[in-house]
């Protein structure tokens, strides 16, 4: 492999954003017929590096060669002309158009939809994709949309493909299917780069792995010759423990009882249908489900942010007194100790204010307390210091606007604020969304600490590997219904995957046991 001419040779690449050095003197080789995993923590510069390859950013310094020829990539079009295509985390598709129309969009020449469709079918057949050219995007699942994105770059003749965290939004089954397609493409001689921070995926799919740490290139190795532990250590820079603890539930007592909850969104679409479950104190209740199965609506309903059509949500106090949460204002529910930390895709939209400092963001929760009229920043400043210390937030100071922090650190601020406020019920959604391994483990630890303090933790997660290790019980949502509640200790990933796609998990529930 060392004797081949690399498809892409990046040398001494530097890129700074303001005072942040996103990439420093990075060297990277990408070969054809190989799947390269680009591994690194949040803010280690993986996406930045690949964005420079796909023409979104222009490097401050350094050179890029494609097939041994020095090139200048100053636009995404220039990248595509060189055969480099990138599939971004957020899909760039027009919802009301069909797959074929989206693929054709932006290309020059005459519009011949029939030919386009035929070529798309040919691509699908070649690599094993499953998508209909005439299907509208809004009718598609996340995984199908991703397929369209991949076809889009293949259609434009790309033979160097970059995928930015492609599995973040997929179910285990869909991930398997994607990996199969990627292997087909590799065998066809394409160069593939997959950006990820999930260790098991690196091991499953890649031939070689390159590690970035804090914008610097740490090194690369054959995947076959390395281990998850070794890679993690290189990525983080020190030893990390990779097992998630699951202490036994502490004196579990019913804390939140949801019965027959039915919710419609503003468009009148049924988002939750007759959902019933009980969340206990001293326990982590995991919620699994394909994105958009009603997780958000469920948490928002409990937090009082969502109009409820029917059903009941009861908060049960230590002395057994029940109190109905439906009809209470979000503020009143907050005062009862029910805290919601929902990490949205953009990480800022709910719960944090980007232009405000860490201190002010802490104050968002508590500013109403104390003397009337004027705010007092000394308490929030202490909270901010505590969160920065406990969660190892890397920030220049607590006066820094949170927008200037990297995504992972923003998230620590958001989750940390809810945790330090000593809640009774902690609702958290996607708490580790996009977080690197180190930060994720800090969050798991903190959730476990909360659990041991007797807090009822409801954890909506995306990563099934984590859910089965962390949660005491897992509630699986499918299309707004409770598809099943399984014991975390005995749960099988495949079984949960089935429950996620079919209510009740299909006819043969014991197939995989």
């Amino acid at each position: 492999m060392q004797n081949k001419v690399p498809a892409v040779r990046m040398r001494n690449i530097c890129k700074t954003f303001g005072s942040i050095k996103a990439n420093q003197h990075v060297d990277l080789d990408i070969y054809r017929g190989e799947i390269l995993a680009l591994l690194g923590e949040n803010g280690s510069g993986k996406t930045t590096l690949m964005n420079m390859l796909s023409g979104i950013y222009f490097p401050d310094e350094g050179t890029i060669e494609v097939d041994g020829r020095p090139v200048v990539i100053d636009s995404p079009k220039a990248a595509l002309d060189l055969g480099i295509g990138m599939i971004h985390q957020h899909f760039k598709l027009v919802d009301v158009l069909t797959a074929a129309e989206n693929v054709e969009l932006g290309l020059e020449g005459k519009l011949r939809m029939r030919e386009t469709a035929a070529r798309i079918r040919a691509i699908c057949e070649q690599y094993g994709f499953d998508v209909h050219p005439d299907q509208k995007i809004y009718d598609m699942s996340v995984s199908e949309k991703q397929t369209v994105e991949i076809i889009k770059v293949l259609y434009r003749g790309a033979d160097i493909l970059i995928l930015d965290e492609p599995t973040a939004v997929l179910t285990p089954q869909e991930t398997d299917r994607l990996f199969k397609v990627l292997r087909n493409m590799r065998n066809d001689g394409k160069a593939i780069v997959i950006i990820t921070h999930k260790m098991n995926e690196v091991l499953a799919i890649s031939d070689r792995v390159a590690v970035l740490r804090k914008g610097e290139y740490v090194g690369d190795m054959e995947t076959a010759e390395t281990s998850a532990r070794d890679m993690t250590n290189r990525m983080v820079g020190h030893e990390v423990e990779l097992n998630i603890e699951r202490p036994d539930p502490v004196d579990p007592k019913p804390r939140v009882k949801v019965e027959g909850l039915t919710v419609r969104n503003v468009d009148g679409i049924l988002k939750l249908k007759d959902v019933s479950f009980t969340a206990n104190s001293g326990e982590i209740l995991g919620i699994a489900g394909i994105a958009g199965s009603g997780q958000k609506e469920l948490l928002e309903a409990i937090a009082g942010l969502q109009r409820v059509e029917s059903g009941s949500i009861a908060y049960i106090d230590d002395d057994g007194a029940e109190e109905q949460l439906i009809g209470k204002s979000p503020l009143a529910i907050q005062h009862m100790g029910v805290h919601l930390s929902f990490v949205p895709e953009d990480r800022l939209g709910m719960g944090l204010v980007g232009s405000m400092s860490l201190t002010d963001n802490m104050m968002l929760r508590t500013y109403r307390e104390g003397a009337p009229l004027f705010t007092n920043r000394s308490g929030p400043a202490k909270t901010a210091e505590q969160v920065v210390h406990d969660l190892e937030v890397s920030t220049p100071s607590i006066r820094t606007p949170v927008r200037q922090l990297s995504g992972g650190n923003v998230q620590k601020v958001l989750v940390g604020r809810e945790i330090v406020s000593a809640p009774k019920v902690l609702l958290t959604a996607y708490a580790v969304r996009g977080l690197d391994i180190n930060a994720s483990y800090i969050i798991y630890d903190l959730l476990n600490q909360q659990k041991q303090k007797g807090v009822a933790v409801i954890y909506v997660g995306e990563d099934l590997d984590v859910l089965v290790q962390l949660a005491d019980r897992i509630l699986v949502l499918c299309d707004g219904q409770v598809s099943g509640i399984v014991d975390g200790k005995k749960a099988k990933k495949k079984k949960i995957g089935k429950l996620m796609t079919t209510v009740g998990g299909g006819d043969k529930p014991d197939e995989d046991d």
């Binding site: 040398r11 001494n12 700074t16 954003f17 303001g18 005072s19 003197h25 060297d27 222009f58 401050d60 310094e61 350094g62 050179t63 020095p70 200048v72 100053d74 220039a78 937090a303 942010l305 204002s329 979000p330 503020l331 907050q334 919601l340 929902f342 800022l348 939209g349 709910m350 719960g351 944090l352 204010v353 980007g354 232009s355 405000m356 002010d360 104050m363 968002l364 929760r365 500013y367 109403r368 009337p372 009229l373 004027f374 705010t375």
Partner: protein, 393 residues
């Protein structure tokens, strides 16, 4: 070899720079002002042959005359212009912080003028003279607040566009004003209200006092109260915006309504409350114009200050203290430009002052780009020592 052939490399790179130290940024801005004035002088010299020195002297003398006999007639009106512009800039600021683009300060001010004028006209003689002014104060603030809160209510409940709505409210206020000007015209049919309570027993009823005893010395000044109000407002508004819970809430609403509702902030109420404040302050400014200096009503009383205030507020980055500087700058240049055209020696057309004003603002706003971004040229970007690369291999 390994150097990039820069055939297609972009000529210039624009990249963000680390936040600049404020002292450094201030230097940039001052430099921009100086550069804009120099450019204006150069332009006038090239086009009209005006002596640049005469030019500068005229601009400065418009606000700071060297002739002491002109001082009272120029310096105090300049300060008063500044106070009015400053008041309106302060008024629109809370709304702007909430990302509620209130461009209806003009109309809200006229509503205040009209309410104050109506009280002065109709109440004098029917209630004790001493009560007229308090009635004016209440009426003017309420009228301004009403004019501000109507678009806020529509925005809060129906999601209407506040920019268009507040703009349209300006025309309604102006037409309403025109209607009453005809109704109360004196003499009838002139379309002109004239000075209200100018003479007779009711002289100066409902007017702001102009004579003050301060430490035994008697000072007579038409503008002093208005200037003092503006000064106090700067401090009050600073605390409201930076230190108060209300100010905190409205910045959260402006930044992200979703976050605000997640935190249990009542977004509708904050929107309405803030526009009551914003409109109310405009109404107060209307009162200052009618009861303070003009003692009459007409539809040009606000004189476009409501729109200029939008720019001043932005220029000062919503900071009340910086607004003093920004308003001063605008007023100073505006008065200077006006004198340029009235100065017969300079041979400048009246549109020329508008051009100059435009050039100056272009420079001031344009320099913000250089404060935020760095521009680098191609050759500097690709010049990189080779040895650093090899040492890392």
């Amino acid at each position: 070899m390994k150097t990039t052939e820069a055939k297609r490399e972009p000529l210039i790179h624009i990249s963000g720079r680390p936040p600049m130290r404020w002292s450094y940024a201030l230097l940039w801005r001052l430099g921009a002002i100086v550069a804009s004035i120099l450019f204006c002088m150069l332009l006038s010299w090239l086009i009209t042959g005006t002596n640049p020195i005469d030019f500068a002297v005229t601009v400065v003398h418009a606000s700071f005359p060297d002739d002491p006999s002109l001082f009272a007639g120029r310096f105090w009106p300049m300060l008063h212009d500044l106070a009015i512009l400053l008041m309106l800039s302060l008024a629109v600021t809370p709304a702007f912080r909430m990302r509620f683009w209130n461009i209806g300060a003009e109309g809200q001010t006229l509503a205040g003028c009209l309410a104050a004028g109506a009280c002065m006209k109709l109440l004098t003689g029917t209630i004790p003279d001493a009560w007229v002014l308090p009635c004016e104060i209440i009426a003017a603030i309420l009228a301004g607040a009403l004019w501000g809160v109507i678009p806020a209510i529509f925005k809060a409940w129906f999601g209407t566009n506040e920019t268009l709505f507040t703009l349209m409210m300006n025309y309604i206020a102006a037409q309403l004003m025109a209607f009453f000007c005809v109704l109360w015209a004196s003499p009838k049919g002139s379309g002109n209200v004239g000075i209200i309570n100018q003479s007779g027993a009711a002289r100066a009823v409902g007017w702001f006092p102009t004579k003050f005893d301060i430490f035994g010395a008697t000072i007579e000044n038409d503008y002093l109260i208005n200037i003092a109000i503006a000064g106090v407002m700067v401090i009050l508004l600073f605390f409201y915006m930076v230190k108060s819970k209300h100010g905190f809430e409205l910045s959260v609403v402006g930044e992200s309504q979703r976050t605000a509702s997640y935190l249990g902030i009542n977004v509708r109420w904050v929107t309405i409350r803030t526009m009551i404040l914003s409109g109310g302050l405009c109404g107060l400014t209307g009162l200052m114009l009618t009861a303070g200096v003009n003692h009459t009503i007409n539809s040009t009383l606000a004189g476009g200050n409501g729109f200029t205030a939008v720019m001043v507020s932005w220029l000062a980055k919503f900071n009340p203290f910086l607004m003093i500087l920004a308003s001063f700058l605008v007023v100073f240049l505006r008065r200077g430009a006006k004198d340029l055209k009235s100065n017969a020696n300079l041979n400048l057309d009246e549109s020329f002052s508008d051009i100059l004003m435009g050039i100056i603002l272009f420079f001031i706003i344009g320099c913000e780009f250089f404060i935020r971004y760095r521009i680098r040229f191609r050759h500097r970007a690709s010049a990189q020592p080779e040895k650093e690369v090899t040492s890392r291999a």
